[in-house]
């Protein structure tokens, strides 16, 4: 048993570290460190810089333009990326759609879409959830009715993250109301500028516009935009969920968040002493770091299994649960450290220390981490059934 990186891996780590030091724009670093939302333009510019280096689609195989890294290299890269305070670049095209197309797409779809994702020509958003279909996703109602070479799509999607930035959306739609709910679902690619498609903003409790509602009224979509077979959409969607396990816990970003919090506690004072000298605050910081350590080692177990080409064990099922718990704990600590400087809401710069300005927004938005991507409750239901065998009917 050995957790040390090999000399080659260490050299790789150095290479990545110096590259970030030289290439990450200062403004992006500042915003990421303070937890300030980035604009689409900022993200695209950054992704293009990464792509020029060949480091954007790190999880993709070589034939599709990936860097052909081992799982350990990808892990190291992610750690260094976070350590540099570089944005993760929440890109549904790279993380979600890319792997789906590789597994289920036609040659034509792969040839057309994959390079466009890599070169940041397309911004994809995810159209799964509906007002009536959240945790119970399979009950989705948005209909795609066959009409010659096209489908006619009617219905609505909700919570479409960055749908207002996207030019394309991948959707789960209902192509049949017969049989099992899951079997009537198909996976469809839709251009956002198709007539009949409308996006309306939803402002979230951090006061920002990340989310949208997307409406479809007689939207005509060519059948060649179907991914997989008609009725195979559920399988395709599920494939995504099992795909990338080694970064789902968000360890890299939480480690950096933790480091930033400790710095905040050292550099800001109260009653004549650094906040770090306050016994209860430092113990809370310590407890958060201990929880993070447990998460990191769970994550490493999954990584080790993946690196050895094995299927991850039962530990991987808690990565999302514990990972989001840590994220929420850290964001809560950010507010706690900020004291009354957590209260100013979208105030001008300089009313308090910069690093406290966005802590409440971050805390508020991080509440969503236990809601999206399978809520805490739904994750626990699955683990109880699938891992513990507590499955009674």
């Amino acid at each position: 048993m050995n957790i040390d990186f090999s000399p080659e891996e260490l050299a790789f780590q150095q290479e990545v570290r110096s590259w970030f030091a030289e290439n990450l724009p200062a403004e992006l670093k500042r915003k990421t460190e303070l937890g300030i939302m980035l604009s689409k333009d900022e993200l695209v510019v950054w992704q293009r810089i990464l792509n020029a280096q060949g480091w954007l689609v790190t999880g993709w195989p070589k034939e599709y333009g990936g860097p052909d890294w081992t799982p350990t290299q990808r892990y190291i890269f992610d750690m260094e990326r976070a350590r540099a305070n570089a944005p993760i670049g929440l890109s549904m095209g790279i993380i979600m759609l890319g792997p789906v197309l590789m597994a289920y797409g036609t040659q034509e779809q792969k040839d057309y879409y994959l390079p466009r994702i890599r070169n940041c020509e397309d911004w994809w958003c995810q159209g799964y959830s509906e007002p009536g279909a959240g945790s119970d996703l399979a009950s989705l109602k948005t209909m795609a009715v066959s009409d010659g070479d096209d489908y006619i799509v009617n219905g609505s999607k909700i919570w479409t993250t960055y749908g207002h930035w996207a030019n394309r959306i991948f959707c789960l739609v209902r192509t049949s109301t017969e049989g099992k709910k899951q079997e009537g679902i198909s996976f469809l690619l839709i251009d956002m500028d198709t007539p009949g498609l409308e996006v309306r903003p939803i402002v979230s409790i951090d006061g920002e516009h990340h989310l949208n509602e997307t409406f479809f009224t007689d939207v005509r979509v060519p059948k060649k935009n179907l991914v997989g077979k008609e009725g195979q959409g559920w399988t395709v969607a599920k494939y995504l969920l099992t795909h990338e396990r080694t970064t789902i816990a968000g360890v890299a970003d939480s480690k950096v968040h933790m480091a930033n919090l400790k710095r905040m506690a050292r550099e800001n004072g109260a009653n004549g002493e650094p906040l770090m000298n306050d016994p209860s605050l430092r113990q809370k910081l310590a407890k958060a770091e201990i929880n993070l350590l447990a998460l990191e080692y769970t994550n490493l177990r999954t990584l080790a299994a993946t690196a050895a080409g094995k299927a991850p064990g039962p530990e991987s099922s808690l990565l999302k649960l514990d990972g989001t718990a840590v994220q929420q704990q850290l964001s809560e600590l950010g507010v706690e450290l900020s004291g009354q400087y957590a209260w100013p809401w979208k105030a001008d710069d300089g009313v308090g220390p910069d690093e406290f300005a966005a802590t409440t927004m971050r805390y508020a938005f991080t509440r969503a981490a236990t809601i999206y991507g399978g809520s805490d409750e739904v994750q626990k239901n699955v683990i109880a059934k699938m891992v513990l065998g507590l499955n009674f009917k």
Binding site: L211, A347, A364, I371
Partner: protein
């Protein structure tokens, strides 16, 4: 022993409840939220006409002669509707301080206008690095002629942008953390040398940073004795803390009820999500939290008037620690059980979340009050 409200107290509570129902629905509140500083002059007028601005003041002072229990009733009702107007900062905290410590002349000059809704006050006691300790004062007041020159900076002062006058804590003696040597001064917000940078707060209210640059005040601006302001401030903050707990109780109660209602109506997997035991148990956690907080608010409202400052402080810190902890639970779980819709600005749940989040640190976090309680407990032998 009985814990019943008097007829008069019931009348006040019913009147405020009615106001929230008729004039402060979530949609009506959105309009207030859009106003400058989240303050509606019409509402304030209405509060004055209803006599609510006079509740904490004696009849001699032109008030209704109400007690803590009356204030708690108003605040709890305000909490259910998330009222944005600065009742807590202007009436309970600043007004209460003047009522308890102001000279006859000061009371005469300030209270009628405050009670009549014509003037607003705020207490500027927190500083850049004072966090929650009201004894941490670096702002200085130097003798000058028969008055004082005040210089320093106050941070995140609730209600500062709307206040006509500020009650400022400043050192006339002692070192940074000493309770001795703190004096309280009445300072006109428009006086030369006063600069207020206002902003909105996460709950929709307003606060501001106050810079004081050689602000000249007369000897008559001193509230209480020179160097003896801490006891007065500490007591006023304790009273305001109990009122804040009552507000939080109202907000928690509403968030809990709305969440339970949602569990009954939202369907997934063909059934109301309230049929899932995981959520049932959590709903019960919120319910028990709210009821236990009600007990703590009751306890604190009875003990905050204790003549013994140690007994008063312990009771207030016990309440703030307890209610703060439960407020966080209720805020977080109300959002969680709503799922995506709980994350939106559109729904009231997110607003309760932010109001309760702010409450958690108001007048001291749970940790601050746990330590305050523990230190007093240990010293009590």
């Amino acid at each position: 022993m009985h814990f019943n409200l008097s007829d008069e107290q019931k009348l006040i509570r019913n009147a405020v409840d009615k106001f929230i129902r008729n004039d402060y629905s979530f949609d009506a509140r959105k309009k207030v939220l859009a106003l400058e500083n989240g303050f509606s002059p019409e509402h304030w007028r209405q509060f004055a006409d209803m006599g609510w601005l006079g509740i904490p003041f004696s009849e001699d002072q032109g008030g209704l002669g109400g007690g803590v229990v009356d204030i708690v009733q108003v605040m709890e009702a305000f909490g259910t509707g998330m009222v944005l107007e600065p009742y807590l900062s202007a009436i309970v905290l600043a007004g209460g301080l003047i009522a308890r410590g102001g000279s006859a002349a000061q009371q005469e000059a300030l209270l009628p206008a405050l009670i009549g809704g014509e003037k607003l006050l705020a207490v500027a006691y927190t500083e850049r690095e004072s966090r929650f300790n009201p004894a941490d004062v670096q702002t200085r007041a130097e003798k000058s002629g028969d008055g004082y020159l005040i210089s320093g900076e106050k941070a995140v002062v609730l209600g500062a942008p709307t206040a006509d006058a500020l009650i400022v804590s400043a050192r006339t003696g002692g070192g940074r953390l000493d309770t001795q040597g703190i004096s309280l001064f009445l300072v006109d917000s428009k006086a030369p040398g006063v600069e207020i940078t206002g902003y909105r707060t996460m709950d929709g209210g307003c606060a501001g940073n106050v810079r004081l640059n050689k602000v000249q005040v007369g000897a008559d601006a001193l509230i209480g004795g020179e160097g003896a302001g801490f006891a007065l401030l500490d007591e006023a903050v304790d009273h305001a803390t109990v009122a804040a707990c009552a507000d939080a109780l109202g907000a928690m109660q509403s968030a809990m009820r709305k969440t339970v209602e949602y569990l009954k109506t939202r369907k997934q997997f063909g059934v109301p999500i309230g049929s899932f035991q995981a959520l049932q148990h959590r709903a019960v956690d919120l319910f028990t939290a709210v009821e236990a907080c009600r007990s703590m608010v009751l306890m604190a409202s009875l003990k905050v008037t204790d003549k013994d400052p140690v007994a008063r402080r312990m009771a207030v810190s016990a309440a703030k620690q307890f209610v703060g902890e439960k407020a966080r639970l209720v805020a977080q779980q109300a959002v969680q059980m709503h799922g995506g819709i709980g994350m939106t600005e559109e729904l009231d749940i997110g607003h309760y979340f932010r109001r309760l989040t702010m409450f958690c640190a108001q007048f001291g976090t749970t940790d601050y009050h746990l330590k305050r309680y523990a230190d007093l407990m240990a010293a009590a032998a």
